[in-house]
Symmetry: C2
């Protein structure tokens, strides 16, 4: 099997090396900078054939074309080839374009023919190359798994809806980057106070005690009832951070968020009793958002 790449940057380069090692016959790539020496050298090093026009990528034995361009070029890339695509070419978009853009590409350019895959790369390519963990959604996702698992790609199907994979990646990233930022603020303070080891062990004990899904449930349902009191408690810790010259960036936002949660009036909606399931809380909060939008 042959593979085509639109875009031959970091992603194309790293994946191609892995593909060719694991049995892909030929890789043809187009990059707007195809004439650039750096690009040419990388293509040569990886064993990839560079072409001067995106349509040239679609050679007879190419069964899969992968768009691997910066997010704002994704639509453009698909536009440049969509009229030349045949129904048997799998169209995989590994860019970080938004779910909305990806859904639009599938609908408007690829006519929902079931050949599109929204693929979100979930790890560092330099480490994993083509074996990088991927979550994928869209009409072509089953075919993608079928075709590429034999070449050692690590694909997890999410759904048949293009955009779902990207949305999961983005939403997950809010959490991962947020907790990193939060822990940084916590440890900066703890280090200043000479209690870092104690704080790490205290937090770890709580976090390691139960499966994270249960922790989520306890935190969200508890916050629904106690957010009001916590707003006041947060003033104490904001003061403590400031005393030690640590900007309370995450902690101020935490306070603001607890105020916003309190304003949903969840405590009275749940009759002062902690609800059983975090979904009840989030549904209630999102309902309110929708109603407010409705009112505008």
């Amino acid at each position: 099997m042959n593979i085509g790449f639109i875009g031959f940057g970091e992603v194309g380069y790293e994946m191609s090396q892995g593909f060719l090692q694991d049995g892909i016959k030929e890789i043809i790539a187009y990059d707007p900078m195809y004439d650039n020496d750096f690009v040419k050298e990388r293509a040569k090093a990886a064993g990839v054939k560079l072409v001067a026009n995106p349509v040239e990528v679609l050679q007879p034995e190419v069964e899969i074309v992968i768009v691997a361009v910066p997010a704002h070029h994704a639509k453009n890339a698909w536009e440049s080839i969509h009229q030349n695509l045949t129904d048997d070419i799998l169209c995989v978009d590994v860019s970080t374009a938004s779910a909305t853009v990806k859904a639009e590409i599938d609908k408007k350019l690829l006519e929902n023919k079931g050949m599109f895959v929204d693929a979100a790369l979930m790890g560092p390519l330099s480490v994993h190359k083509h074996k990088v963990p991927i979550i994928a959604s869209g009409g072509g996702v089953d075919r993608f798994e079928e075709l590429m698992t034999p070449y050692n790609m690590n694909i997890e199907k999410v759904s048949n809806i293009p955009g779902d994979a990207t949305n999961i990646k983005f939403t997950r990233s809010i959490y991962m980057k947020g907790i990193a930022a939060l822990l940084s603020e916590v440890l900066e303070l703890a280090h200043e106070l000479n209690i870092a080891d104690r704080v790490v062990s205290s937090i770890s004990k709580t976090m390691d005690e139960k499966p994270f899904a249960e922790i989520i449930n306890r935190l969200i349902t508890g916050t629904a009832i106690h957010s009001g009191r916590r707003v006041i408690e947060l003033d104490n810790v904001i003061e403590l951070l400031e005393e030690h010259n640590i900007a309370p960036i995450m902690t101020m936002a935490t306070k603001e968020k607890h105020i916003a949660i309190t304003n949903h009036g969840l405590r009275s909606k749940f009759n002062d009793k902690t609800p059983d399931d975090w979904k009840l809380v989030i549904e209630e909060m999102n309902k309110k958002v929708s109603e407010e939008i409705g009112k505008v």
Copy 2:
């Protein structure tokens, strides 16, 4: 043994009930509202003797006096009795006054005689009563454990420094409230996008994979090197939140925090290589803070 309380609110009421059940002979309490019907009824219900003057709490068989007042009254409370304290009375402050205030109470009012305990309550009193998990520090902490463990108190000694227990509680609370706020923002978005279960299972998988102490290490050391790139990625997710009418409160702060981390220039300090230990990162960040303060 008898116990004295200065302040007979929620804390005094709940703990007293438990103490008397578990063998404490008598509890004498002073509250500024000692003449209030509600306070009188609660004292009666708990079996506590109310007195009209703080000094009256210090009766001969009282071996331990517990200050359980709102944070801003803590110093005041100790001031009202400190001249009447004898060296054999253990002085326990369970208020949420700051570490600085508690250290000052020990130094200025109790003359560092080793009888002071900074006790931080770590759970809900209504559930645990006197058995509530407590972390404690200060000169009197060993005596506190010795005296009260037989009465089923759940005391964890932290250090001999008054204030350490309160600082650990406060710092820990930044994390616990912060992660609740962050998860709320994440789940509001995930729910709107119909991917909540997927997101929970994806995050849970990552969080349950390793002990939390290792996760901390990976997050802090990785952020030191990659914070700059993540600032850009965060713009994508802020856009996604806004598209779905969810205020990006925690996510904006996450971006701001990543900018602040990037400004520390950690990437070049660690020569583009992820450091081994989160402590190296936090030390570097705090060093910079101290230097900057030094420059002012």
